[in-house]
Each structure stands twice: as structure tokens, then as C-alpha cells.
Symmetry: C2
Subunit: 208 residues, 2 copies
DNA sequence: ACCTGAACACCGTTCAAGT
DNA sequence: ACCTGAACACCGTTCAAGT
């Protein structure tokens, strides 16, 4: 049973971290987050073992929101439209949150919560992808993992021009989506990643 | 006329930075780079105003290599094959160099050398794209800027699984390339970025 | 002219001392 | 049981002192 001020501080820290990360990306400072939450710097490490862990917690929360959005699209009338909407929601998450964009490539998948969130996201993506495949409009060799990696790619393709052309990502989403369609599809040289490969992806090599 | 040891140190620093950045990405430390080059930490700032500037210099050099590769492909027999090869070379640059991957999104375009290099790259891409468009195989609304952003996207899509499935990027390159083809192309909701937009892209907002 | 290494302001993290 | 703020090891950067 946590103390009243402790759970209040924890919430304040998560809110502060969420805002700071969205605005400044992964190099948001612990000092600013603590100040914004109205606690001492040391208190941050009382609630979260490390900055990486705090980021993972926020990341998990964001992904959960996207999973929920995906689940609401499961029963949509047009499965192709539903898949496009899901990818749109995923990209909008990237554009709203600077840190999410960087974290998508850099976060340690070793973290069990991040892995679990990634798995749930891939499962939701696979449900929507399966329906789109079954409709015949999307090529049969595409998986939910592909879809997750590809909307991330579309988001990152447009990121360098994000301040200049804010909706450029729509161009690349639609272009990539054309690549997902069944008609005119050429065979792909490499199979889709397996669930094990998708989730178990190792961390960068430590300094040698 | 620079002193002999000075120009030797400069070369050593560039070589050291090149290796450290490729291995450790943008957070390669100045201390390690200096040690690897056999000079004191302060000497680094004698040759380069800042770490960012040193990174920009390396970045510029890498892009120049890619431009050269693109120019060698200008007279290839099959323009579609040539464009695919160019994009492949671009992605392989990302896979060889951790920092390049991160820098592609994060480097300040304000740096005039980086801007110039980006312009040359876009121009080379446009030449190859133009030939592929004229052949009728690639859709008419695609530009060189699109191609540069899209091979970067393919590289970054596969990055999280880079240690587990090293050639996964080939899957996404070919999938995106299917989206570039003229047959079965759907209209895109947003026009291609202009040269001005591509090069002038502003820097992230400073901390508020 | 250029190199050096001590110094500075920052960062994430730890921990003894408080309540 | 939790909070605090001083302390630590790191980082990029500066600069007086050397040659």
C-alpha cells in the first residue's frame, strides 16, 4: 500500500515525463521532468530505476492507446480502409511525440514491458492485416509485423521535413500502401520477420 | 598553410570519428575519438568548432560517396534496375554506419555543408528517377526527393531488427519499390516536397 | 600555429540524512 | 516508507599555459 504523496508524485512524474518527452524527445532531462512534477531530482529514481525505465513506461502507455484504436477498427465495414486508418493512427502517434519517433528504433526490446506492448501491437496489427488480406485487396505475403514496421517507416521518412511540410507523411503512407496491394505485386526477396525475431531483437552492442 | 602535424592530426581525427560514429552512433564520445586519433581532447575543438560540426563533416563525406555511386549508374542500360541499385547503395550506407541512420533525421540542415550535400544527393536521385519515370515503369508523380526519403525509410524500418535479420531491409525496399511502379498506382494525397522544402527544413525547437 | 590538460557546466545516478 | 539535496562519474566545451 503506497503512501498518498508517493502515488501522487508518481502520477505527476509520469505526466511531466510524457509532456517533456513529447516536446524534446529522448534527451528530455530528468532535472526538467522533476521540476515540472514539483519533486527533487532524486525522487525520480525512487519511482523508476533509470531514465530508460521511465521512457519505457511512457512508451508502453502510448502503444496501449494505439492497440485500443486498432481494436475499435476490428469490426469496420471495409477492412482495407480499417488497415489504412490503423496505420494513420500509428503515424500520428509519431508526429505527436518526438520521443516515440526516436524510441521506436532505439528502445531496448530487452525490457519485458516494452516487449509485451510490442507483441500486443503486432497481434492487433495482424488481426487487421488478416482481414485486409482475406478481402483480396492486400497481398497475401504481408504480416502484422510488416505493417507495424512500415507505418513507422512512413512516419520516419517524413520526420526530417516535419516542421516544413507537416502532413508529408500522408504521401508516403499512401505510397507504401500501394506497395501493400495485391494487384501488381512483385515477389519479395526476404520473408517477413517471425514473432520471435520481432520481439527478441537484441540491444546495440555495448562499447568495446 | 597548415603545419605538418596539424593536417596529420586532422586526418587522424576524421578517420577515428568515422570509425567511432559507425560503431557507436551519434553518442560516440569525443574522448574516445581523441584517444583513437592519439591526440588530447582539446585538439578536437582546435580542428572542429563542435561535435555537431565534426559529425556533419563525416556525414558530408558519406553522402559524397553515395552521389558518386549514383553518377556511375546514370548510364546503365535498365533505368529501373539502376534506380533500385541506387536505393540499395543508400540503404547499405545506413546499415554500415549507425550514426548515419540517426543523423539522417536529426542533423541540423542549417549546416551549409550538409545542405549542399543533400542538394547534390537529391539532384543525383532526380536524374535516376527521371530516367525511370521516362521508361514508363515508375509513376510520373515521383521525384528524386521522394526516392531519397523512401530509401531512408526502408533502412529505418528494418533497423530495430538489424541484429536479428540483417537483410530484412531488402524486403521493405522491394515492397516500397512496388509502390513506386506506375501500374496500379493510386493518386497521392500530398504533393512531393519542393527543393526549397527539402533543403531548408528547420531545426527542432530549442528548449522552452 | 598548434597542442595540452586542467577547469567548467551539464548530465544521469547514488546515497546518507532527514521526516 | 518516502523525500531531499549534496556528491559522483561522466559528457561536450573552453582556455591559459606551454612548445
Amino acid at each position: 500500500m503506497p503512501r498518498a504523496d508517493a502515488s501522487r508524485n508518481r502520477r505527476a512524474l509520469l505526466d511531466a515525463a510524457s509532456a517533456e518527452l513529447a516536446a524534446h524527445g529522448l534527451d528530455a532531462s530528468i532535472a526538467r521532468i522533476a521540476a515540472r512534477a514539483g519533486v527533487a531530482k532524486g525522487t525520480v529514481f525512487n519511482h523508476f530505476p533509470s531514465k530508460e525505465d521511465l521512457v519505457a513506461e511512457i512508451f508502453e502507455d502510448r502503444v496501449a492507446g494505439l492497440v485500443a484504436a486498432g481494436e475499435r477498427l476490428r469490426d469496420a465495414a471495409d477492412p482495407v480502409e480499417a488497415l489504412l486508418r490503423f496505420m494513420t493512427a500509428g503515424i500520428e502517434l509519431h508526429t505527436r511525440d518526438r520521443s516515440f519517433c526516436q524510441a521506436a528504433g532505439a528502445i531496448p526490446r530487452a525490457d519485458p514491458r516494452v516487449r509485451a506492448a510490442s507483441e500486443r501491437l503486432a497481434r492487433t496489427a495482424e488481426e487487421l492485416t488478416g482481414r485486409a488480406r482475406d478481402s483480396g485487396a492486400v497481398r497475401p505475403d504481408i504480416t502484422g509485423h510488416d505493417v507495424v514496421l512500415l507505418f513507422t517507416a512512413a512516419a520516419q521518412a517524413a520526420t526530417p521535413l516535419g516542421d516544413t511540410v507537416p502532413d508529408l507523411w500522408r504521401r508516403y503512407l499512401h505510397l507504401i500502401f500501394d506497395g501493400l496491394r495485391a494487384d501488381g505485386a512483385h515477389p519479395l526477396p526476404v520473408p517477413a520477420p517471425t514473432t520471435a525475431q520481432f520481439t527478441a531483437a537484441a540491444r546495440a552492442t555495448p562499447a568495446g
